[in-house]
Structures are given as structure tokens and as C-alpha cells.
């Protein structure tokens, strides 16, 4: 892979990490409210998958979608401002953490009800197929979401009508506090795609280069042969399910096991499932990120100083996003009504 591309992946992962840790901090300050599901530990999936997609491909995401949006190129300002509920946010402050949309970038939303991404994705896929366009849809979901009825219904239709949908399972082994062995009779998620004759692969989701390659190939197969593809990425979230979850259901030994994957272990504190202090946050470092860093250095694509440089850049971008959000106006009720009625066009309702 070219140097350029790797730099992009590294930067995206670091931006995602720093953004999320800052979001946690802003949550504690009360600038962000509601459910906040963070992504640390899983960055390789967002970065690898979305960088492998083209600009005309569509992304359908979940409530854990900030990193997806950032990697897709949405400015950190717009993502952070949405978390702050400001008028300048991606969804005008109407959607918040779980409902980020960017029409221009074909970022088709974050959905909060588990299992909603499948039907939306096959609908977009159906539209593409009807128009015979060379586009695809990437549909994200978690391991827990695989047990929702829509998984079954939608994958069947995707296969039956050969829709151009790439199903991407972010398998972090947990549905909130329930371990995959306690929620799925067949815990090898990719095997379940066989029930629909959808080609499926399981990939190490902690290795961004593998994620990127697997996604490229899957998208190629969709473009060449038509029909859906399925990728399962094994990954791990270092934090609790959301800011409301202390994560006490996970045995420390298990969390440790996942750290071993990580050549550097600066992220250690994070996994004690306390919310990190600002000091700790500053100390938070790589893991799947570190892995890429090491690799790039070893093949000569990166200098130690560059890492610090990128970190500085992304920290500045995130700081800027926070300042921008703080300075942004609150939406008004008039804005809210306008969003609701955005599709009424010229139609005049009778005095209602």
C-alpha cells in the first residue's frame, strides 16, 4: 500500500480516538448529554472500511457512528457541534450523537434502534440496482444486532435480488453487557451469512491494513459480480457500552488478553472502565493505532516525529471543533418545525 494511503489511515484512526476521548470529556462537563456510545478500540474498522469505499458509495451506520462520519470526511466541527446539539451540527442539533446524517457525503445516518441499518441499506441498494449504477452501500451493525429479525429478512432480500450491499459486522463481542456466547447460538457471525448464500469472511478488525484490503476486495466483487458481500471484523471496545455503562461485566483478564494484541499498552488505564481523567486522557495512546504506527515505522513510511505531528494536528482539529461548537448558535423551535416540514414544499396546509 502506498505511503499516502497509510498516512491517511493513521490520521483517521488518531483523529477518531482523540475526538472520542474529548467527547467523553465534554460529556462529563455537561456539554454533551444523552446516550454517548464511544468507539475507542474499534478505529481500525471505520478507517479501513470507509477508506476503501468510493465517494459514490453510501454508508449506513449505527448509534456508534462518530468515527464513521469523521473517516468519511465530515469536518470534526460538524460532528462535535451535533454532539453539542447546535444548529451547526451535522443534523442541525436535531439528531445528536445517535443520528448523524450528511447527505452530500452519502452518509445516510446513524440509527438508534438496533437492526434498523439493514432495511435502509437494502433500500438504497435497491434504488442503485433499479438505476443500474456502479455504486454500493456499506451497512454497519454490531454482533448483538445480528439477532434482530431484520438481519434475517434483509439479508435474504439482498441475496435474492442481488443487491449491491456490503454487510459489515463490527464484532466487539458484546451487546451492551451480554457476551456473544450468551446471545448467539452460532457465535461465528460470518457463518450466519451462509443461510442466505452470501459470501462471507472473518477478518482481524484490529489490523487496519487487513480491514482495508478485505473491504476493497469485497467492493470489487460487488461491482464485478453483483450481489451482496459480508465481512465480519473482530474488534474490541475499550470503554463501556456508553457513558452510562461502567462495564463491570467484563472480566479484567479478558480485557488484558485483547491488550496483548497491542504492541504498546499506553491505553491500559482506559480499560479499567472508569471514565478517564483529563490527565489519563492525555496519556491515552495507541493500540490498533499503535500497531499501524509500528508497521509504518518498520517499513519506513513514518518517522517517530511524524506521529507526534499528526497527534498535534488532530488534537488541534478537535480543539477547534469544540471551540466552534461552543460558539455555535442553539437551534430554535422555528428551526425544528422547519426541519419537520422540510418536505412539504409549496403545499399549503389548511389552517390546521
Amino acid at each position: 500500500m502506498e505511503r499516502e494511503k497509510m498516512h491517511r489511515l493513521l490520521r483517521d484512526m488518531m483523529l477518531s480516538r482523540v475526538f472520542e476521548e474529548r467527547a467523553a470529556e465534554e460529556y462529563q462537563k455537561g456539554n454533551i448529554v444523552g446516550f454517548l456510545h464511544l468507539y475507542p478500540g474499534e478505529e481500525a474498522v471505520a478507517a479501513g472500511v470507509i477508506n476503501a469505499a468510493g465517494p459514490s458509495d453510501y454508508i449506513v451506520s449505527t448509534y456508534r457512528e462518530h468515527a464513521h462520519a469523521l473517516v468519511r470526511g465530515v469536518p470534526p466541527r460538524a460532528v462535535m457541534a451535533e454532539l453539542f446539539g447546535r444548529a451547526t451540527g451535522m443534523s442541525g442539533g436535531m439528531g445528536g450523537s445517535m443520528h448523524m446524517f450528511d447527505r452530500e457525503r452519502r452518509f445516510m445516518g446513524g440509527y438508534g434502534i438496533v437492526g434498523e441499518t439493514y432495511p435502509i441499506a437494502i433500500g438504497i441498494g435497491y434504488a442503485i440496482a433499479l438505476r443500474a449504477l456502479p455504486e454500493s452501500v456499506i451497512c454497519f451493525f454490531g454482533d448483538g444486532a445480528v439477532n434482530q429479525g431484520t438481519f434475517h429478512e434483509s439479508l435474504n432480500m439482498a441475496a435474492l435480488w442481488r443487491l449491491p450491499v456490503l454487510f459489515v459486522c463490527e464484532n466487539n463481542h458484546y451487546a451492551i453487557g451480554t457476551d456473544i456466547h450468551r446471545h448467539s447460538a452460532v457465535p461465528e457471525v460470518y457463518k450466519r451469512a451462509a443461510a442466505y448464500n452470501i459470501p462471507a469472511e472473518k477478518i482481524d478488525g484490529m489490523d487496519v491494513l487487513k480491514v482495508y484490503d478485505a473491504t476493497r476486495h469485497a467492493l470489487d466483487r460487488i461491482r464485478r459480480a453483483g450481489g451482496p458481500q459480508f465481512l465480519e471484523f473482530e474488534t474490541y471496545r475499550y470503554r463501556g457500552h456508553s457513558m452510562a455503562d461502567p462495564g463491570a461485566y467484563r472480566p479484567p483478564v479478558e480485557v488484558k488478553a485483547y491488550q496483548v494484541i497491542d504492541p504498546l499498552t499506553i491505553g491500559a488505564r482506559e480499560i479499567e472502565f472508569r471514565y478517564p481523567t483529563p490527565a489519563e486522557l492525555a496519556a491515552v495512546g495507541p493500540d490498533n493505532i499503535a500497531r499501524l504506527t509500528e508497521h509504518m515505522i518498520s517499513v519506513g513510511h513514518l518517522e517517530e516525529e511524524e506521529v507526534a505531528q499528526i497527534r498535534k494536528e488532530v488534537e488541534a482539529a478537535v480543539e477547534d471543533a469544540v471551540q466552534f461548537s461552543l460558539a455555535s448558535p442553539q437551534p430554535t423551535m422555528a428551526d425544528a418545525w422547519q426541519h419537520l416540514n422540510s418536505n412539504r414544499r409549496h403545499e399549503q396546509l389548511l389552517q390546521a
Binding site: 434502534i113 441498494g125 433499479l130 418536505n343
Partner: protein, 332 residues
């Protein structure tokens, strides 16, 4: 050009016209294609437009309705047929959390030109699971429009308007009406999709119905007229939004209102209508707004009990007469 058409034919015609005019219109649902539709509404379209635009789906209501939502987000104009409203509960998440909320949640970025056609109501002895009404459920969802045509003409107009609209529209079609006949003018300019229609003018009381109950109200009015009672009949045509002005103007003239609904009474569609009219017309009402509604019981299979569980014309005339009682007293 006016023709006599059956209700299902009017819907079929509307689909055909819209599909011919706009490639982004497509139809999907169970047995809408090869089979020709449970109530024939999609008859002939499969042969004419092909299986991609008239798509037979597996029995997967939540997902194929959600498919319509996704397709609408990228500018298609899907017309989803949920075979009957009884299966719509399975698709409710796609309707309520998807279709109705996405335009809003995205800060107005996405259109939702989605039509959901649902045959429903109490037909003939289909028993409790196949006799849902659910109109009040859809009414309570902000972001959703609900149209309830009672005539072939309205069926034709409102389906075309629903397809043309960029807002999500639920079209509630009554199973008992599919084989009713009426004139359809395909050239005339339609009234707004949600405007109520005064089907009969009268001064003594206002009968308010929608879908099948609008027809029953007209029958009842004809009967009452024989006794010299002049009932005004309003066909709501739309349950969200509701054309309050037409309603209150009428009630302010007649001073009495009777709402007829096939929904179960407790928290049914009629509750909103009665509550709002009682509020809006408080000072001009001579008697409480009354409801003739379905009983709060699952629909019995037995034919006589089924009939007794929903409003009959006789129930309407009886309620109308009872409602007029106090007026005479007040006048006396």
C-alpha cells in the same frame, strides 16, 4: 374525463398513471406482482412495468417497508403495499422510527417520498387478528400523513397526491370499499389531500366520518332526512392533518356533532376529533360531542357478533336521534 370505476380500479389507475410518468415510482409488497395483488390493486402492472418495478417480496414486513424508506432517501418514490394493516404492526419501526423521523432527525436533509398503502378495517368474518384498524396509532405519529379515501374519486386523487408528495403518507384503504363503484374524473383538479369534504349539507347536526364510516354517515343522513332531520355529513378524508376549519364551521352552525369511527372507542381516532371539537366549539355546542365507535373488544369471528362490534347505520341514526333529544328540551 369521468368514468365509473370500482375503488380498486381507481387505485390501479392512479398507480399506472404515476408509474408511466415517473421512472422513480415503484411498487413492492407481498404478491403485488405475478399474483396481481390481494385486492387486485396492482393488477396488470407486473406485465407492464416488469418485476423490478413491481416487486414481489418475501413475508418480511419490517424489512421491505424499511427498504422503501431507504429507497425514498435517495429519491425513489416507493409505494409499499402492506398486504393488510394487520401486518403493519410488524413494520411499525420502519414507519415510525424511519419514515416519519428521518427527515426531521437529519435536520431536513432527506426527503421521504414514500407511500404506504394498507388495506384494513373490519371486513367479513376475518376474526380478531385480521380486523385491525389502527388509525389512531398512525395519527399519533408526528411526521406522518394519513389519508383515508372513501370514494373511488378520492382513492384516485389521494393516491396520486401521496405519490407526488415528498412527505411519507399512509393510505388507509378499507377492505369493504374495494368493490364499491363511483365516478372518477381523471382530469379535474383535486382538492388538497387533507381537505375534508361536506358530503351533504344540513343544519340539525353534523355527522363526521372517514373511509367506510363516511359512507355509513351518508346512509344514516338519508334515513334521518325521512324524519325531517337534516344532518350535515363531513367526510374527513385525512386523519393527519385534520381539516379542523371545515369541521368547526359546520359544528358552529349545527351545534351538535356525532363522530363515527370504526376504531375501538377507547383512545380511538374519534377521541381526538371529539376532544378537539368539544374544545373548539365549546360555546356553540348544545349537546356533548358523541362518538359512535367500535366496541372495546377484539373482533369476534361470529358474523352477527362481528357486525355488532362495529358501527352500523342503525347505531348512527339512533345516536343522532338521542343527540337531538336535549335540543328540543333546551328549546322548550
Amino acid at each position: 374525463m369521468t368514468q365509473e370505476l370500482l375503488y380498486w380500479q381507481a387505485l390501479n389507475r392512479a398507480l399506472d398513471v404515476e408509474m408511466a410518468a415517473d421512472e422513480s415510482v415503484f411498487v413492492l409488497g407481498e404478491d403485488v406482482g405475478l399474483y396481481g395483488g390481494s385486492y387486485r390493486v396492482t393488477e396488470g402492472l407486473y406485465a407492464k412495468y416488469g418485476e423490478a418495478r413491481v416487486r414481489d417480496t418475501p413475508i418480511s414486513e419490517n424489512s421491505f417497508t424499511g427498504l422503501g424508506v431507504g429507497a425514498a432517501m435517495v429519491g425513489m418514490r416507493p409505494v409499499v403495499e402492506i398486504m393488510t394493516i394487520n401486518f403493519a404492526m410488524l413494520a411499525l419501526d420502519s414507519i415510525v422510527n424511519g419514515a416519519a423521523k428521518i427527515p426531521f432527525m437529519s435536520g431536513g436533509q432527506f426527503p421521504m417520498p414514500l407511500v404506504i398503502r394498507v388495506p384494513g378495517g373490519v371486513a367479513r368474518q376475518l376474526a380478531a387478528q385480521h380486523a385491525q384498524r389502527l388509525e389512531s396509532m398512525f395519527m399519533n405519529v408526528p411526521g406522518l400523513r394519513v389519508a383515508v379515501p372513501s370514494t373511488p374519486q378520492d382513492a384516485y386523487w389521494q393516491l396520486r397526491q401521496a405519490i407526488a408528495s415528498d412527505e411519507p403518507v399512509v393510505l388507509l384503504e378499507h377492505e369493504v370499499l374495494y368493490f364499491t363503484k363511483g365516478p372518477v374524473d381523471t382530469m379535474a383538479e383535486p382538492p388538497p389531500m387533507h381537505q375534508a369534504a361536506i358530503r351533504r349539507a344540513g343544519k340539525d347536526l353534523t355527522l363526521i366520518g372517514y373511509s367506510r364510516t363516511a359512507l355509513q354517515a351518508q346512509e344514516a343522513a338519508a334515513e334521518l332526512a325521512r324524519d325531517g332531520i337534516e344532518a350535515e355529513v363531513i367526510d374527513l378524508r385525512s386523519l393527519n392533518p385534520i381539516d379542523w376549519k371545515t369541521l368547526s364551521d359546520s359544528v358552529n352552525r349545527t351545534h351538535r356533532a356525532l363522530v363515527i369511527e370504526e376504531d375501538c372507542r377507547h383512545a380511538g381516532a374519534g377521541a381526538e376529533i371529539a376532544a378537539s371539537l368539544a374544545e373548539r366549539c365549546f360555546f356553540s355546542l348544545d349537546a356533548p360531542v358523541q362518538r359512535v365507535a367500535a366496541l372495546d373488544i377484539p373482533t369476534p369471528y361470529n358474523g352477527a357478533l362481528e357486525a355488532a362490534s362495529i358501527p352500523r347505520v342503525a347505531d348512527i341514526t339512533a345516536a343522532a336521534r338521542a343527540l337531538l333529544g336535549p335540543r328540543e328540551k333546551a328549546a322548550a
